[in-house]
């Protein structure tokens, strides 16, 4: 059901009315939306808010890998941003690294896909990959521990 009652043209009309009046803002709250139109310097802003409106919340699946503590003596390789973690450059290809591999700070150890962009994950420190914690193709949060590195 259409439950947004005002079109962009309506907002333009409201601005025109306000502009010709002495008022600087209008704040309309209904059960379905809140609209604030306010003077801002020379111009105007419109702010819509539907967060109080009656729409069923959709539960997102919880990301598999979360923030966790890192055992003493080991270094964590963390996800630089939220997204989907991949161990290999493309499906079927060899993984970037396996447990037991030696890495330098610049070694690419995986990819995190966010918003359709492939972001390389660098080891960040030299060492030996002692454990790979994130599953291939699993959703990861920003800062999630993907791997542990042991001193070389």
């Amino acid at each position: 059901m259409t439950d947004l009652p005002l079109t962009p043209e309506d907002v333009a009309d409201i601005v025109a009315i306000l502009d010709g009046s002495g008022y600087d803002r209008i704040d309309v709250t209904t059960a379905r939306f809140r609209l604030r139109v306010a003077r801002d310097g020379e111009g105007w802003t419109q702010e819509w808010d539907f967060s109080a409106a009656d729409v069923p919340a959709v539960a997102e699946p919880a990301p598999a890998a979360a923030l966790e503590t890192v055992p003493e003596g080991l270094t964590a390789v963390r996800s630089p941003l939220p997204g989907t973690f991949y161990r290999a450059p493309q499906p079927g290809a060899a993984p970037f690294v396996a447990e037991g591999d030696a890495v330098t700070a610049d070694t690419v150890v995986g990819i995190v896909e966010t918003m359709k962009l492939m972001n390389p994950v660098h080891a960040g420190a030299a060492g030996i990959v002692s454990a790979i914690l994130a599953e291939n193709a699993a959703p990861v949060e920003n800062g999630a521990v993907l791997m542990h590195l042991a001193p070389a």
Binding site: M1, T45, W48, D49, P56, M118
Partner: protein, 449 residues
């Protein structure tokens, strides 16, 4: 007004373009049915649509990119037609065919045009046959083939997804030793975004402007709706677009328009499309880049200077009606500029920043248009692209439009996640942009770029 054939329109997209299509459909008396992923059930377009259907889980491969899921949802909703928006399946010939096979109208060009323009190699051949100049390059299915083509083009070169568009999967390579790693990344992105890893390798022309022509065709006749300049890009993602393209000599400007119409006529093109050119920033020689057989993100600047609703035209043409606008009726009045407000932390290498916009206060007033699906409290999911909305300003002259843009950006307030809003403030104040006619290196020249 109602259309004889299209009464129930299924929108196979999300975000601001879904909202944009819903608005025109409702204005035309068409029932707007939106297919949403699980992540978009509470989105603004879902609230505004007349009906919504869940097409699948959040990842786009299982929802917005899944041909069987979209077709099944559209059929279940008893749609007469499917509008694909941009991105996702919009230029996928197999999808267009599947829509037709299911007895529905695809709001877009014929399958033959999609095939001709969707494959960059064939697009080059066809446009050369239509008499348009092209840039040296060739297709590569793997690293070895890419190396061979690179030897013919030289460096710097560009890697593009053969099935791509909109800059996705495009990489610039400056040195031969970087080629292999860039190819692997470009192929992975092409596969993820388009389901096709093939690449196109092309010579990179450094001092170029990106100028494109909006086309409408009904299969018999084609017209242009003027030029757009999209030279302000970062890594081939457009940041700012304007209409018409400024500071191009009148005869060269006309030659670009004529070339675009020639290609659309050659294709017997049906629908809205965009012919993109690389224009030499000093000599104004131009080369065909590609044709986007769909609505573009930046279509509102053309709407602002022509007064023509492009989505309405798409629907009229898809319904089978002849073009109602003769070329001489298209008048370009004034100047319009669009900036893309993305959920990206531009100070940290444009890192994608999904999350919740706790405050989204957009500009309003005369000469200002906002196309956005993000209101205060709106969610930008990590599964899709980072576009939060577009701010479009128009005025009688380019100078006034630039001033209006600066004023509107001053009022724009996005809180809760980083956005490109203040990047655009810097662009609007940049003397090169204020002067107009910058080339595609503009962004590299910005401080802290």
């Amino acid at each position: 007004m109602s259309l004889p054939r299209i009464r129930r329109l299924f929108i196979a997209n999300r975000g601001e373009i879904a909202l944009r299509i819903i608005r025109t459909a409702q204005k035309m008396g068409i029932t707007a049915i939106l297919g949403v992923s699980e992540a978009d059930r509470a989105s603004l377009p879902a609230r505004l649509a007349d009906e919504t259907v869940v097409i699948g889980p959040a990842p786009s491969v299982h929802s917005y990119l899944s041909i069987p899921a979209v077709i099944a949802a559209a059929q279940a909703a008893r749609a007469d037609a499917v509008h694909p928006g941009y991105g996702f399946l919009s230029e996928n010939a197999a999808f267009a065919r599947a829509v037709g096979d299911a007895g529905m109208i695809f709001v877009g060009p014929d399958v033959a045009s999609l095939e001709a323009m969707g494959d960059k190699l064939m697009a080059r051949r066809v446009s050369a046959a239509a008499g348009l100049p092209v840039v040296p390059g060739g297709e590569a299915e793997d690293t070895d083939a890419a190396r061979r083509v690179a030897e013919t083009t030289g460096y710097p070169l560009l890697l593009k997804a053969v099935s791509g568009g909109g800059g996705r999967g495009m990489k610039r390579v400056d040195r031969p030793e970087d080629l292999d790693s860039q190819i692997a990344m470009a192929m992975a992105e092409a596969e993820a975004a388009f389901g096709d890893p093939r690449l196109y390798v092309e010579r990179f022309i450094a001092r170029g402007r990106h100028v494109e022509v909006q086309i409408l065709g009904d299969g018999q006749r084609a017209i242009h709706l003027g030029t757009r300049d999209c030279s302000i890009q970062r890594r081939f993602q457009k940041l700012v677009e304007e209409a018409p393209a400024p500071n191009i000599p009148v005869d060269k400007h006309q030659a670009i328009l004529d070339a675009a119409v020639r290609l659309a006529t050659h294709l017997r093109y049906r629908g809205a499309g965009t012919v993109e050119f690389l224009v030499d920033a000093e000599r104004f020689d131009f080369y065909f880049l590609e044709m986007n057989a769909r609505i573009q993100v930046e279509h509102p600047v053309t709407e602002a200077v022509t007064g023509i609703d492009l989505i309405e035209q798409q629907l009229l043409i898809a319904d089978g009606q002849p073009l109602g606008i003769p070329q001489e009726m298209v008048r370009i009045a004034g100047h319009a500029i669009e900036v893309r407000i993305n959920a990206e932390d531009w100070r940290r290498d444009f890192r994608p920043s999904p999350g919740t916009a706790t405050v989204a206060a957009w500009p309003a007033g005369p000469g200002i248009r906002v196309d956005s699906h993000i209101a205060s409290g709106g969610v930008v999911p990590p599964h899709y692209d980072s576009l939060m909305g577009k701010l479009i300003v128009s005025a009688a002259t380019r100078g006034e439009a630039v001033a209006r843009l600066a004023g509107a950006l001053d009022g724009l307030r996005i809180e809760g996640l980083p956005s490109t809003a203040d990047l655009h403030r810097a662009i609007a104040a940049d003397p090169r942009f204020v002067a107009g006619g910058v080339d595609t290196r503009f962004f590299e020249g910005m401080a802290d770029g």
